[in-house]
């Protein structure tokens, strides 16, 4: 019995320890989203509803701007869809770690799939011993931080000071570290380098957020081809 108790405790601790860098990064971004929305005429309840139903940082900034400038509902919805389409790839990559898991669990977990939670969960799953409940807790903790911070921003508006210098780099720092964890061999490193080059080029030449999907798919395909070619050469 005590063994199970310890296990329960550790899955909660693990989940929270995985979540903190995400929360640290989300808080100032959520605040600034709330402040921006408040200035654009959004009420705090409207911010809360948006953060709960949409829960996607980038597209919420875009949505606030589009809605306040009177864009049509169809334009807002289709932009939201395009901006978040990259989650298709993330959920696909996560799926091998959830064999035969109940639909209810997956439905709850899917709600919290973001760039950040994907990056942390993927790294932990690869490292082994990552409890699926920790993954779910991590998602929901990050999610709660996002909702709360955006609503605080919407209430407090301009009363919030500029903040600690460097906090806006928390998520970038986290992504860099998680990328390093992913570089487990020459093929992975080559894939990452190709992704960076294609992503910058696509970011400059393609509109919107298409660069993430274009660069990820191109780089993964290139990496796959490199892997197959080098394997064939080694074992003729």
């Amino acid at each position: 019995m005590s063994g199970t108790g310890e296990q329960e405790k550790s899955f909660i601790q693990e989940g929270l320890s995985g979540a903190w860098p995400i929360c640290l990064g989300y808080f100032p971004i959520g605040l600034s989203l709330g402040v921006l929305a408040q200035k654009a005429g959004f009420a705090p309840w409207q911010m809360a509803v948006m953060s709960v139903t949409v829960f996607a940082g980038g597209s919420q900034f875009i949505a606030v701007a589009m809605i306040s400038s009177g864009a049509s509902a169809a334009a807002v919805i289709s932009t939201t869809f395009m901006v978040n389409l990259r989650h298709l790839l993330m959920s696909s990559a996560l799926s091998p770690y959830f064999p035969g898991v109940s639909r209810r669990f997956l439905a709850l977990f899917a709600y919290g799939v973001t760039d950040e939670s994907f990056a942390v969960n993927m790294t932990r799953f690869k490292g082994g011993g990552w409890d699926r409940r920790s993954a779910l807790l991590l998602n929901q903790t990050a999610n709660a931080t996002w909702i709360v911070s955006s609503v605080i921003g919407a209430y407090a508006g301009e009363f919030i000071p500029a903040g600690v210098p460097g906090v806006e780099y928390a998520l970038t720092g986290m992504f860099i570290c998680l990328l390093v964890f992913q570089l487990r061999g020459a093929v992975f490193t080559a894939t990452a380098v190709i992704a960076a080059v294609v992503s910058v080029a696509a970011y400059l030449w393609l509109p919107g957020n298409a660069y993430v999907i274009v660069a990820s798919c191109t780089a993964a395909t290139a990496g796959f081809v490199i892997k197959r070619l080098t394997q064939r050469r080694r074992s003729p």
């Binding site: 919805i77 298709l88 709600y111 992504f175 860099i176 570290c177 998680l178 660069a215 990820s216 780089a219």
Partner: protein, 108 residues
């Protein structure tokens, strides 16, 4: 915008964000993936992470232009080094914030 139409808009936005997150998990977790697809998916995490970071390090946002030597990139160098050497997420995040904050204070 009326309360009703705002709520409907949010529901629609929520739907189009939720479905791409859920459908692959629901469909693929019940299947045995073909080997080539599993190998391709394995390369998606480094590809996505790199694709997400690179524009922040090497470009300006509005208008979109190439920008080499930004504070974001300069701070990334010690951050990357720290990640390789320490393999500590917490340490790396703090190092990145210190260097980026420092560069910003120096008006870089």
């Amino acid at each position: 915008m009326s309360v009703r139409s705002y709520l409907l808009l949010m529901l629609a936005m929520g739907g189009v964000t939720y479905l791409p997150r859920m459908i692959p998990l629901l469909l693929l977790s019940r299947k045995r993936l073909p080997l080539w697809f599993a190998q391709w998916l394995e390369l998606i995490p480094p590809a996505i992470l790199s694709a997400l970071i690179a524009p922040a390090l090497f470009t300006n946002a509005a208008p979109r232009t190439l920008a080499l030597g930004k504070a974001e990139f300069l701070a990334a160098l010690p951050t990357f080094y720290c990640a390789v050497k320490t393999r500590s997420l917490a340490g790396t995040v703090v190092v990145g914030m210190l260097f980026y904050g420092g560069l910003k204070l120096l008006k870089f």
